[in-house]
Every structure is written in C-alpha cells, then in structure tokens.
C-alpha cells in the first residue's frame, strides 16, 4: 500500500467513525430535552427515566466523540502536513470557535447530568438544551472548514503560498451554509431513525409502554428531518453544479456536456467508452435539478482534463445510494406520520415497528455515502483547484502502521461503547420491571 493511499484510507476511516459520534452528539440532546419537557409538563415518571437513560447515552458518546475528534486534529497534522501548513492559518478559525462550543457543551453536560436535585427544573432543562445547541454549533464550525476545501475563499494563492489571508471570508465561504444545514438535518434524520428503531425493537421484545413513548419522540424528529432533507439536498446539488461542475458530472456520471441532460437511475459507468450501461434515463431532469430549467446545459466529464477526474464510479454509486435511502426514509416518514395522526396502534403491531427496526442503519449509511460524494468527489484536490492531495501528504514512511493502529483503536472503542450501552439497557429494563411491581 503506498503512503498516499494509506493516508487517505486512514482519514476516511477516522472521519467515518467520528461522524457517527458527532451526529449523535448533535441530535440526541434535543431528543433528551424533548422528553424532559414532556416530563416537566405532565410529570409522567417514564419520561424522567427516558431523559436520564438518554442523557447517559449522550455522556458516553460525548466522551468518545470528543476524543475521536481530538485524534482527528492530530491526524490532519500527521498525515497531511502540507495541508496543515497552508490551511491552518486560513481555516483555523472555525476550529477555534468549535473549541468554544465544545467547552460550553461540556459545562452544560456536567450541569445537566448532576443537576437533577440541584438546579431549578427549568434551568436544568435549559442546560440540557445548551448541550444540543453547542453540539450543532460545533458541527457547523467544522463543516465551514470542510466547505472551504470545496470552495476555497479568503486568500490569494501566490506560487504555493497563501497571501492576503482573510479568515472570516474563508469561514463564510460559498458552500458552508448549505453543507452545514444538510449535515445537521442528516444528523437528526439518522439518529432519529436509529433511536426509534432501537426502542421499537426493545418495545417488541418487552411490550413495555415506555419504549413506545421513546419511539414517538425520536420518530417525530426523524420524520420531519426526512421530509425536509430532499429539499435541502436539492439545494446542495444546485450549489455543487455552480461551484464544482466536475463533481456534479461525476455524481451523475455524465460524460458529454449536454443540453436538457437526463437524470440516471442506476447504471454502470464505463470510463473507456464514456457511457453508462443499464441506466434508466429521465430526460431533462438533471438539467432541471441542477439549474432549474429543463433545457439548461450541464457540463460533462469530457470537458475536463482526464487527470482531474475523481473516481467516477465511487462518486456515482455513493450519490445514488444516498438519494435512494433518502427517498426511502421520506416514504417511511409519510406513512409513520399518518399512523401517528390516525392509527397510533400501528406503532406497536403490524409491519411498521418492524420496518423501523430495519431502518436503524439507513440514515447512517446515507451520511457515510454523502460524505463519500463530497470527499472522493473532490479528488485529486485536497483544496479544490488549489492544492493536490498528493502534494500535501506526509513524506515520511510507515503510514500503513498508523492506519492499522487507528483501525484497531476504533474497533476497540466501538466494542467499549457497545458494551456500555448494553449495560445501560440492562439496568433500564430492570428499573422498568421494578417500576411495575
């Protein structure tokens, strides 16, 4: 394995791991606050239990998430010193804001976890909400940094060195807002489905009304997010079309520049012939989705030098997977919202609870696929049209070993977290049984 490939794999592995924790850190505190709110309004002790159970989950994921994030920032320096040297001064700022947000999050979490008998109930509730707000803020800030890699701004490139640096312009680049919004919605969607599915499964096994309450809260968040997401995603696609036409061409596997370009469903891109085999074509739809007009011209890959192409097939499949999962979750959400409104009993029997169980991983798979589109679609650039990944990678040997080390570390962290969550569930169930007798 050569160094560049190992370094890219290690980055992908670490980020793919971190994003799961980060998403949970963003969405979960809001679920917790919602349940806490219901408890404070109606005094149903189940909701207090639920709030406490969820808050312990938040604490575990927070601790591991923070560490995997800190490890990431060291990895950036280790693997891509060329990137750090140039990018640190330009996009360090969102990271320093992230630090602040994270600090607040840690303080608020301390207050929330240990404040049950110490704080006034609504102050206590507020501290829980601050955990969530800081989590989302954290995520927004890092995404500004990532968006800058896609849409560099706030500096002039002077023969390999940045001059006229403007950190504010770099932070508020073209891509930042939409990427941040899309990711935030994705976090609610993925975590919502995962939590609803897990409680649905526990509910099917234990038949305890407690889990139904949990499912309803998590599902409501998930459903709203799933219905908003295709709209936000469409905006994201339009923004890519403008900023990174080559990425859009790879996503859609469009080889020739075409007017009223068709949207492909499925299809195997063949780089040699420049065609797609076995694809369903929806005429004019791509032009419409990318530019809002059915006869707009969409740039194809052949307009760009071959050495600037990203790995077309990976980007194309990842994009199709994300959109397919997004559509599936949107459908499931429509059905679920209807049940919630007219047929609440469908949440405990029939196909729907089982479908929720099946949907546990969908959101997370869509998130990983979406990031594959963004990151692989940017290749061969680490900073789009400015710096190549190959020129930023570390000159030192042995990245394979650190890759192995990290793979082991993440495996191990996953095992620890799984074990801890399992113990949580056990004690929750015992508490529920004791509550009954």
């Amino acid at each position: 394995m050569d160094n560049l490939f190992a370094a890219r794999s290690q980055m992908a592995l670490s980020l793919g791991f971190h994003i799961i924790f980060a998403s949970i850190g963003m969405a979960m505190p809001f679920f917790m606050a919602a349940s806490h709110w219901i408890f404070l309004k109606h005094k149903d002790p189940d909701y207090r239990r639920l709030t406490q159970a969820w808050s312990k989950g938040v604490a575990i994921f927070f601790a591991v998430g923070a560490v995997s994030g800190t490890a990431l920032s060291f990895e950036l320096g280790l693997l891509f010193p060329g990137f750090m040297k140039h990018a640190g001064p330009i996009i360090g700022m969102p990271f320093s804001w992230e630090g602040t947000a994270f600090f607040l999050e840690a303080i608020a979490l301390g207050l929330f976890l240990y404040g049950w008998d110490r704080l006034k109930p609504w102050v206590h509730w507020g501290s829980g909400l601050v955990v969530g707000i800081s989590g989302v803020a954290s995520a927004f800030f890092v995404i500004c940094a990532n968006a800058w890699m896609n849409s560099p701004a706030g500096f002039d490139w002077n023969g390999g060195n940045p001059i006229n640096i403007d950190p504010w312009a770099a932070m508020f680049n073209d891509a930042a807002f939409l990427q941040g919004l899309h990711m935030t919605v994705a976090a609610f969607q993925a975590v919502g489905f995962a939590v609803a599915g897990l409680h649905s499964w526990l509910g099917l096994r234990t038949r305890h009304a407690f889990h139904l309450k949990a499912v309803k809260i998590a599902f409501t968040f998930a459903a709203v997010a799933s219905l908003v997401q295709p709209i936000v995603g469409d905006f994201a696609a339009k923004s890519v079309a403008r900023r990174q036409p080559i990425k859009l061409a790879a996503m859609e596997s469009l080889f020739e520049t075409t007017k009223s370009a068709p949207l492909l469903i499925g299809g195997i891109p063949d780089l040699e012939t420049g065609r797609n085999r076995f694809a369903i074509e929806l005429p004019g739809m791509l032009s419409f989705l990318a530019f809002g007009k059915f006869d707009a011209e969409v740039k194809g890959l052949n307009d760009f030098p071959r050495e600037h192409w990203p790995p077309v097939a990976v980007v194309h499949y990842a994009f199709q997977l994300m959109v397919a999962l997004g559509s599936l979750m949107a459908l499931l959400s429509v059905a679920g919202l209807f049940f919630l409104w007219k047929r609440p009993e469908q949440f405990t029997r029939g196909w729907f609870p089982k479908a929720l169980v099946g949907a546990i991983p969908l959101g997370f798979i869509a998130i990983e696929a979406g990031w594959t589109v963004t990151e692989v679609g940017r290749q061969p650039w680490i900073i789009y049209n400015v710096l190549k990944t190959a020129d930023a990678v570390t000159p030192r040997p042995g990245v394979v070993y650190t890759l192995a080390l990290y793979a082991f570390l993440y495996l191990f962290l996953t095992a620890v977290v799984t074990f801890l969550m399992w113990r949580q569930t056990l004690s929750l169930h015992r508490e529920l049984r004791e509550g009954e007798t």
């Binding site: 312990k56 604490a59 927070f62 601790a63 591991v64 923070a66 560490v67 800190t70 490890a71 920032s73 060291f74 990895e75 950036l76 320096g77 280790l78 010193p81 750090m84 040297k85 640190g88 001064p89 360090g92 700022m93 990271f95 320093s96 804001w97 630090g99 602040t100 994270f102 600090f103 607040l104 840690a106 303080i107 608020a108 979490l109 301390g110 207050l111 976890l113 240990y114 404040g115 110490r118 640096i165 403007d166 950190p167 504010w168 570390t394 000159p395 030192r396 040997p397 042995g398 070993y401 650190t402 080390l405 570390l409 962290l413 620890v416 801890l420 113990r423 949580q424 056990l426 004690s427």
Partner: protein
C-alpha cells in the same frame, strides 16, 4: 509582537488550568492505587464526588491549547503531531479509558460485578495518561526531534524514548498525585479522612522531590545542561527559590488540623505546582520545540500571519467571555454550594 505575546499568554493560561484542574483529576485516579488499609470506600467515594460534575469541563483546557497551536502556530502543531504522535495518541487513549471507566463506575447500576474492573481501569489509565503527558513535556524540551528525517523510528520513536522523558513522566505522575491529595484534604468531610489525605500529600511531596532530582540527573546524563539552563534564567531561578521557601509553611500547615491550615495547604500546594510549571515555561520560552541540531521552533517566528492571529484573539476573547461565566456557574453549583451545605 503584542498580538503574538497575548496569544502565547492564552496558551500558557490554558495549559496552567489544564495542569491544575485536570491534573488534580488524574491525581485522584492515581491515589486510588494507594488506598492503604483504612477508609478505602470513603476515599473512593470522595474522589468520585469531587470529580463527577467537573471532570469533562476540566479536560477542555487541553482542547483549547490544541486549537491555539493549530491556528496560531501551525508549524509547531504539525511538528508535534508528527514527531510526538505516539505519546499524543497514548494520552488520548488514556483519556477515553479514564472517562469511560469513571462514568461507568458511577453509572453502571446493573450489578456490581464490574466495579473493581472499572476502578482498576480508572486508576491505571490515570497513571498512564499523566505519565505520557510528562513524556510529551520532556520531549519538547530535550531536543531529540529531527524534523527532516525520513526514517520510521527516527520520526516517531526517537524523539521521546529516552531516560529523561521517562523521568519526566514519573515526575508528572507524582505532581498530579500531590495536587490531588492537596485538593482532597479540603474536600474531605471527616477528620479521619482529612488525616488520610494529609498523609498522602506528605508522601507525594517526598516522591515529587525524588523524581524531580531524577529528571535533572537524567538530563545531565543525556548531555543536556538542564541544571545550568534552569539556574541561568532569572525567572526559573525565582520560581525555584520561591517554591523551595514555600515548602516550609506548607509542611507546617500540613501537620495541623483545622480550617485555616487546611486552606493554606490547598493554596500553597497549588502555588507550588504552578511555580513548577512556570519554571518550565521560563526555561523553554520562546522556543516551543527543540530540535536535535540545536535549533528549534520559536513562537515568534512560527506564528501565523497577522489577520489570522487577530481572528484567533477575537475568538479567544469572545470564547472567554462565554466560557468563564458558565464555568463559574458550574463550580458555584457543585463546589461552593456543597461546601456551604457541609458547614
């Protein structure tokens, strides 16, 4: 110049707070390895109660220091994250372990079968993390880093694997244990428990002096004139002399029971630790990392361009304005109000 200096000041303060607060947390875990025969349960309960609400916030000072390096001094940051990657990783892994073990000792209410496992993991990872923090500090000052090498062992292992750095690790472990014992004398709510922690503070103090001597001995032995450097700089010399003078009132208060002496044990103990840290700053400054060829990375020459530093300073000041009230509230709720209740 002023801009850079104020950012370095933030860095220094972040590190100071990390050592004082998180160091005390680590020390609490380290002390659990030396519970002795008496009041074992009470000691554990005290450590847990003192740490529980604040430990996550305490660790954020490290993140702050990292962020300042990342944005303000990217080449220092990059050098450290390459040459010192393994000890940095060791620290991170230690922090996760500690966090998980600690949280779960507190939270895993489903049966007690894992209690001793959690406690063991908590204590050992506290030692491990403190040790590697010391190793990191040692590697920055000792000058075994070769920024241009392309060898594997020379890149990742040689910068920190030597007797001096290991001695620094041990010294840090003792320093944190000392700090925790000092803090806990004040948190303890019975006479007997206070006596236990006073004794531990005295023992840790002894260990601190022994390992401190070891650090200097290994520095000389490794060909690094640390003693000369330390006494050549008026600042570090002052720190050293002040700290030495402070031992006398410290020992006097340590032998006596009562509110006044307990308070002065805490205040003087913290001052001593801070002076040790300041002494280190004074020897290092303004070079952040020293290289094998005698050169190093100077804060002033490696700083990011002006606009970046401006933005960083704005972020730091705004962050401070947000964070300090929140942090103050956290400590007020969990530390002062508890003390009030005890009286």
């Amino acid at each position: 110049m002023i801009l850079i200096t104020s950012i370095i000041a933030f860095l220094g303060v972040a590190l100071l707070f990390y050592v004082l607060f998180a160091g005390a947390d680590f020390g609490g875990g380290i002390l659990e390895l030396f519970l002795g025969k008496n009041l074992r349960k009470e000691q554990r309960a005290l450590v847990t109660r003192a740490m529980a609400p604040v430990w996550e916030a305490n660790h954020v000072w490290l993140v702050l220091a990292i962020v300042i390096l990342f944005m303000g001094f990217p080449s220092i940051y990059t050098t450290m994250s390459v040459s010192l990657h393994l000890p940095l990783m060791a620290v991170l892994v230690g922090i996760v372990f500690r966090g998980c073990a600690f949280t779960f000792r507190h939270y895993d209410t489903y049966g007690k079968e894992f209690f001793s496992l959690y406690s063991r993991a908590f204590a050992l990872s506290s030692v491990w993390t403190s040790f590697f923090l010391g190793v990191l500090g040692g590697a920055m000052i000792f000058g075994r880093i070769d920024p241009r090498t392309l060898g594997f062992a020379e890149s990742y292992v040689a910068p920190w694997l030597n007797l001096f750095c290991l001695a620094m690790g041990l010294f840090t472990v003792c320093l944190f244990a000392f700090l925790a014992a000092v803090f806990l004398t004040g948190e303890a709510d019975t006479r007997e428990l206070r006596a236990v922690f006073r004794r531990k503070a005295a023992l840790a103090n002894g260990a601190l002096i022994v390992t401190g001597a070891l650090v200097f001995a290994f520095a000389e032995w490794g060909g690094h004139p640390l003693t000369k450097e330390f006494f050549a700089s008026p600042l570090s010399l002052t720190c050293f002399v002040t700290a030495s003078i402070l031992w006398f009132p410290f020992w006097r208060s340590l032998r006596r029971e009562g509110r006044g002496p307990t308070l002065s044990v805490r205040v003087i103990g913290v001052a001593i630790v801070a002076l040790v840290l300041f002494g280190w700053y004074a020897v290092q400054f303004p070079v952040a990392v020293r290289f094998a060829d005698g050169t190093g990375l100077n804060f002033y020459t490696e700083a990011a361009p002006g606009p970046t530093l401006n933005a960083l300073l704005v972020a730091l000041i705004a962050g401070t304005l947000l964070i300090f009230p929140a942090l103050g509230y956290l400590f007020k709720v969990f530390k002062w109000e508890t003390l009030e209740q005890k009286r």
